[in-house]
């Protein structure tokens, strides 16, 4: 019985460590930041969750001090990892907003040496002003 528990715990441990390694590999190999943000969340939920659950089972079945205290860390990580991922994504987005891309159609206008397109809002405002003055003169 105890041998079966030990072999089962070994399988769970190998599963968790595989996912931790996959998360670190994704952190290194993926190309942009938002792809990199996707990989270590798997490591933090599946990998560390499996390791902590097997640690609880190890201390219950095989150790001398059977208290499930590792569940505290599991619950804490499961609560806080989405919050930290959200904050990191917000920080990366705020850095991305500083380098704003050019307006669509601007590059082709520069190639053909055309003047840049005038903003639409000023034109509409001028149009409304003209109509107002025209109405005033007719009245």
């Amino acid at each position: 019985m105890i041998t079966a528990i030990q072999i089962g715990l070994s399988i769970v441990l190998l599963f968790g460590c595989f996912f931790i390694l996959v998360g670190a590999l994704g952190l290194v190999k993926l190309s942009t930041f938002f792809k990199r943000l996707h990989a270590p969340t798997k490591a933090s939920t599946l990998g560390v969750g499996c390791v902590l659950a097997s640690s609880v089972a190890y201390h219950i079945f095989l150790g001398e001090d059977p208290q499930p205290r590792e569940l505290l860390i599991t619950v804490f990580l499961f609560i806080t990892s989405p919050i930290s991922a959200h904050l990191m994504a917000k920080a990366a987005l705020s850095l991305l907003m500083e380098t704003r891309p050019s307006l669509p159609g601007n590059e082709r206008a520069e190639e053909e040496q055309l003047p840049p397109p005038e903003p639409v809002r000023e034109q509409s405002l001028e149009g409304t002003d003209e109509t107002f003055t025209a109405n005033d003169t007719t009245r």
């Binding site: 190998l14 460590c17 931790i20 952190l27 640690s55 190890y58 904050l87 920080a91």
Partner: protein, 94 residues
């Protein structure tokens, strides 16, 4: 090979694998092109350090390392939040 030897050898292999994951996170922390990359690498490094400490506590069959892992978890979350807030606002306490 008894079951005790199986789980001890598995613990040694798992500690090496998690140590390799920590090295990869350190590489991203040192190289990372942008600041959020470094923050993400630091967060992942703290999480893998928790896993490594729990594996070491299982290997030595002691429950001492639980407190260290809990403190690393809390400080890692706090540091991630504070660093992201600093990047976001250029100010921590508004």
């Amino acid at each position: 090979m008894t079951g005790f030897e199986v789980i001890q050898n598995t613990l040694v292999v798992c500690m090496h694998v998690v140590g390799l994951a920590m090295l990869l996170c350190t590489w991203r922390l040192l190289r990372g092109p942008t600041v959020p990359d470094r923050i993400l690498a630091l967060d992942t490094l703290s999480i893998t350090a928790i896993a490594e400490l729990m594996l070491f506590g299982m290997y030595l069959n002691s429950a001492i390392y639980f407190e260290a892992a809990l403190i690393i978890a809390m400080l890692g979350f706090g540091s991630t939040v504070v660093l992201s807030k600093f990047v976001l606002r250029r100010d921590i306490v508004e």
